[in-house]
Amino acid sequence: MRGRRIPLALLPAPSASVMRRQIVRVRLAEVLVLAPAIDSGQAKALHDLRIACKRLRYALELHRGALPPEAERAERTLAALQDLLGEIHDCDVLRSISAKGDAGGVARIIARDRRTLLARARRLWREAFGDDGALSELAPYAGLSSPQGAAGAAP
């Protein structure tokens, strides 16, 4: 999934702080748009969500120190989420390469692992977008209204 370009031309007065906020806004919006993946559990959608989480995390990391304190908590949550989504992706890749010659035993192990990982990712996601969740707290800085109303598994 390609990340969106950050449009600067539309900004009233380009400054580093305006640009920084715009980057976080666009990258957080990308995560929210892909929220339905958490509910669907579909491989490609989860992979795209992982990439979007990674982009947001890297942006927060790059501007660390110039962002409000809640950004650091968001960074940690995104790293944990990204790890879980990464492991789910590994399961999906493994399932595809192990299919040939497998009587079903390997597929069952992978499926069990994947279910556990997905349940943990869903729990983390709910916490992140809960009342005082790390990503909920980041939303006002990015100029987004509460992401809790976003589509998908955001509670």
């Binding site: 790059l62 399961c91 192990i109």
Partner: protein, 384 residues
């Protein structure tokens, strides 16, 4: 001091050999002289390959693969005992340093250029790969004893590693983007300086082609002699990607600083991975730093519009290193599953383990090749 429309600096660092002075192959000539004497004493005939072997050993020493003493001792060791070779190499060292004043010559225009820069109050320093006290003796030989000199053997890091340029900045007390580095070697001096975020001035030994001139990356200035450097001429070498007179983006400096920060981080990891090719984690670090750099370039695209070649190079690198990393991660998972499985499932997992292990070396080799060739320049000119 303004060197070009896009390069304004507070201080300048210089490479020594072939930038400020040349030593007429002083080390090589003395190595051959010592080897011939050792061969004579031992009654061994010198073959035609001696010079090529000496050159190869010198190159190894210059690349940091061994010390200069080890290189000299290795050459002499063909004719005399290892102990005698080591003793001779110490004598060789002292004699080469003593001979420097007679052998080292200044580059044309060097003295006038340096004098003019000093007259303008620009702080200058020398950062050179080599051993001490030879490099200091060479600087003295061309009348530059008064300049601060950082020799790789003393600072413990060689160009093009960013740490070498960081030592120069420490010595000068200036910021990377406000300190130019002048050198003749494209890879070591120009790309090294740019990777460490210093504007670079290239004084090539041989005139570059028309194409090379046209393709000059951002914040790299091409000059023919150091005299030119001291002449303030804002018309010189405009940024290829920007038309003369066109104002840079108001956030270009800010974006440049952020990208350079990521680039330095990437470059440090890249060098560490190449120094430790068997370290799987080092390879992983290059991959994650490349992804961070790529994300920064994408985020800052409008304020940093010349990222295209760098992004393409990073994408290629990502494919190669990603394949190696994915294989390692999958192997680890399959081995874990395998330990707990039984019967046909276990047999299937063991087959998968073997396949993944077979692929591992090949993928790692390809990843290392990609890492080695991924030389990036801030702004443009990713050269892979």
């Amino acid at each position: 001091m303004r060197l070009s429309p896009e390069i304004e600096v507070d201080a300048i660092g210089f490479d020594f050999d072939h930038t400020l002075g040349f030593d007429q192959q002083l080390e090589l000539r003395f190595m051959l002289r010592y080897a011939a004497a050792a061969a004579r004493r031992s009654g061994i005939a010198v073959d035609d390959d001696l010079e090529a072997r000496a050159q190869a050993l010198l190159m190894q020493a210059r690349a940091g693969a061994c010390s200069i003493d080890e290189a000299v001792a290795a050459l002499l060791g063909q004719f005399i005992s290892p102990e005698a070779a080591r003793a001779e190499s110490r004598r060789w060292r002292a004699e080469v340093v003593a001979a420097a004043p007679a052998w080292v010559r200044p580059l044309e225009g060097m003295r006038a250029g340096i004098a003019r820069l000093e007259a303008r109050g620009v702080p200058l320093a020398i950062l050179t790969n080599g051993w001490s006290p030879l490099q200091e003796a060479k600087a003295r030989a061309v009348g530059l004893a008064h300049l601060p000199i950082l020799v790789s053997e003393c600072i413990g890091v060689r160009k093009p590693a960013p740490g070498a340029f960081a030592a120069l900045l420490d010595r000068l007390g200036t910021r990377a983007e406000r300190t130019a580095y002048v050198g003749d070697d494209w890879q070591i001096d120009v790309l090294g300086a740019r990777a460490a975020a210093l504007p670079a001035v290239w004084v090539p030994e041989h005139a570059p082609s028309e194409e090379e001139r046209r393709e000059l990356p951002r914040r790299v200035l091409l000059i023919r002699s150091l005299e030119e450097l001291a002449e303030e001429s804002p018309e010189r070498a405009p940024h290829r990607g920007r038309m003369m007179g066109e104002a840079p983006h108001p956030l270009a400096g800010w974006a440049d600083e952020l990208v350079c920060q990521r680039l330095r981080d990437f470059e440090e990891r890249r060098i560490a991975a190449l120094a430790n090719p068997d370290d799987v984690e080092a390879l992983h670090h290059v991959r994650t730093r490349a992804r961070r750099l790529r994300a920064a370039l994408e985020d800052l695209h409008e304020a940093y519009p010349h990222a295209g070649p760098m992004l393409r190079a990073l994408k290629r690198l990502g494919r190669r290193t990603g394949a190696a990393r994915d294989n390692d991660v999958l192997l680890e998972r399959v081995e874990r599953y395998c330990a707990a499985a039984r019967g046909a499932t276990r047999e299937h997992l063991e087959r998968m383990t073997r396949r993944l292990r077979q692929r591992r070396e090949r993928l790692r080799k390809r990843a290392l090749e990609a890492i080695e060739s991924c030389l990036l320049l801030p702004g443009e000119g990713a050269d892979t």
